[in-house]
Amino acid sequence: MGERILEMENITVQFPGVLALDGVHFEAYRGEVNVLLGENGAGKSTIMKVLAGVNTGYTGTVRYKGEEIVCKSIHEQMGRGISIIFQETNLLGNLTVAENIFLGAYCTRKGGGVDWKRMNAGARRLLDSIGSDIPERAPVSSLSVGQAQMVEIAKALRTQADILIMDEPTSALTEKEVEGLFHIIAQLKAAGVAIVYITHRLKEILEIGDRLTVLRDGKSIKSLPVKGLTVDDMVELMVGRDVSEQFPRIPCTPGGAVLEVRGLTRAGVLHEVSFEARAGEIVCFYGLMGAGRTELMRAIFGADKYDGGQVLVDGKPVPARGCRAAKDAGIALLTEDRKRQGLILGDAVGRNIALTNLGGVMNRFGLSAKKEAAVCGALAQSVRVKTPSLRQPVGLLSGGNQQKVVIAKWLNTASRVVIFDEPTRGIDVGAKVEIYKIMNELKRQGKAVVMVSSELVEAIGMCDRMYVMHDGRITAQFDSPEGLTEEAIMKAAVATA
């Protein structure tokens, strides 16, 4: 075991309405790959953002090289030797590779001019050291995703890193590039760098991991050596928890297929996806981040174009002409990002609800304030939106109430299929249960309900049937909630790429 370089103790992070980290403990050792494992939303990225100085609103102690430090800014942390490679690359496309690597620390000559020669040479040295032949003068926009990742790594290594955090570095890489990355990791280990590695790919952990820390719901569950573990062990560590939350499931007597999706394909995103949702059932889509679930729902709703396949509602093909056609065909999509895609935050509650069906609040002279108040008021009450008035700007409501406004807005249409994309993300437990109840009500009314969820417990707790996606494909289908195990679902979700 190498020297313990980092100890994070009792780290707590509170986001509005959510306890993102709850007294987490994490250690990292020199010359080891310290793996962080956990479900979506378990807090992996959050704790690393604390360490990297990105997320400064935390409590707890961080001991680094034996001294207590406060993580205040990314710049300061880099100076200390703590570098992070983000999940999404943070490069500036118009600048060259060398400029990106030296961003914030350009080599300068006396008088302040940029010393291009020295900077380009420095970039070359760094790229060579990780075995990359990317030209240092190329603009980043001309690189592939994998190459951009290599630039990120070179950037992180510019300052002598003692701790290098990699947040899902392989998610966008080809197999060959992954191999190259592992080679670099081995080199860095040999040089005594402590690597913190976040991934969903369990096989990778067996390949390169030395030490495993498992997070679940913002708490640290266990820390143990990787040696001797199996994929099954890790899955169990990730999900094995007591199902204390209650899900108000109601019995399901499904009717005929309402939504049929046949061979939906979008190049590089969705591959021949086919499924159906019947009247009076809740169909869940589980998968890890980037599995293509949101993309699938957006394609069905006409928000994104697709290259092949067909969507049918009640046996009738839905023309691929955009959201308007999908809405008219009876599809409703409650997007995952309600602030940016679901609501007009500056607009009043009532106006937001009315937007999907203005025809319903008109009399023969035009929009009728009276009718609008009646219709929207009734809808808002039916989903129990808590708001001082319908005139209240929706941006001032809590997350749960905003979500209810989104639901009310779609209850305002004659929808046959209601798609909920992550309906309970970022809202408190009480509001979650209310949203489940609304879903049940829709189920009782004979609508087909489709729910995308990244929370396993929720998906299992609410679904009548489940599809699991990975890499733009449906990798498993479970036709009954009976005997559904988290292990089986997780296995389908992490199907090796």
Partner: protein, 317 residues
């Protein structure tokens, strides 16, 4: 408590601060200058407001969607030149007016199509149109002005109801009533606000966003052509240099009236008040013998002040 989910409409008039500002301005001006409240001067102010008010209402539609139209002054000139040529060429006045309005509308529609369908920035598209329409106006006119039209046509710009109220003021009032109706009581109006508030969310609500954005620019072009009809009749002349720089006054009127360039707010009543504030200010300063150079400084300051007050007010609430 849940029973109280009603829209409380009592005493809700967003434009009250602007109305008060206009009233205060009138009071100050009438104290400073005895001529300000004379019938002659008041009518004069109204008449001076008509062109800017017409352009500004079209601009308001565009600004509500979060866009801007810099080409209205040029479209005014371009459609005006056409109008002048048609009248001179013996086309009956009613037909010439309709064709003129169609030309303005088409220019606006082209703007709108490029913004909505080709996804170009409104600033760039309409800046291009500013130059194109002005250039075309100059080419077609060949450097000459078309003037002296029939008395019937001139009456559109000169006739006074009861010998007092200029008829173009009535036109503008009708135009504003129509705009108010569309913005407040038609689907299209509601969609424009929604698009300005959050275009993506509006699209995902199943609204054909592109069509409505294009329509807003078309309406703006139409308003510019309407202004050209009034101006041509009033001046008894169609000039290729007409409307130069008018676009900025139109933006200013909308913004003083509470429209935000980031979209989602603005109103017909606000814009009308904004246009009136600008002409009252210009008129009052002229009565006070303030030079037109200094007037520019004052009007610029008022624009900034109006938006500053609005921002402060919104931040507080």
């Amino acid at each position: 408590m849940k029973d109280k989910l009603k829209t409380s409409r009592a005493l809700h008039f967003d434009q009250l601060p602007i109305l008060l500002a206009l009233a205060a301005l009138c009071v100050v001006m009438s104290v400073l200058s005895g001529d300000f409240l004379s019938q002659y001067n008041v009518v004069n102010i109204l008449q001076q407001t008509t062109i800017n008010a017409t352009l500004a209402i079209g601009m308001t539609f565009v600004i509500i969607t979060g866009g801007i139209d810099l080409s209205v002054g040029s479209i005014l000139a371009f459609s005006g030149i056409f109008l002048g040529m048609m009248l001179k060429g013996g086309v009956p006045a009613p037909l010439a007016i309709v064709l003129c309005l169609l030309i303005g509308c088409a220019c606006g529609l082209l703007n709108g199509a490029l913004v909505a369908y080709a996804k170009l920035p409104p600033f760039i598209v309409t800046l291009g149109m500013l130059s194109i329409a002005r250039g075309l106006a100059l080419i077609i006119a060949g450097g000459k002005n078309n003037s002296t039209f029939s008395a019937g046509f001139r009456a559109l710009g000169t006739y006074r109801i009861g010998g007092v109220l200029p008829i173009q003021v009535v036109f503008v009032i009708i135009l504003y009533l129509a705009a108010h109706y569309v913005l407040r009581f038609r689907k299209a109006g509601r969609y424009l606000y929604a698009i300005g508030g959050n275009e993506e969310a509006t699209r995902l609500s199943g609204v054909n966003v592109r069509r409505y954005v294009a329509a807003a620019y078309a309406a703006c072009g139409l308003a510019a052509a309407f202004a050209s009809v009034i101006l041509t009749a009033k001046l008894n002349s169609a000039q290729p240099s007409a409307g130069d720089g008018f676009e900025l006054n139109a933006v200013a009127a909308a913004v003083i009236g509470g429209a935000s360039l980031s979209g989602g707010c603005g109103s017909a009543s606000g814009t009308l008040l904004g246009a009136l504030i600008m002409s009252v200010l210009a008129n009052g300063l002229t009565l006070l013998n303030v030079s037109s150079y200094a007037q520019q400084v004052v009007i610029g300051a008022v624009i900034i002040l109006a938006v500053l007050l609005d921002v402060v007010r919104k931040r507080k609430s």
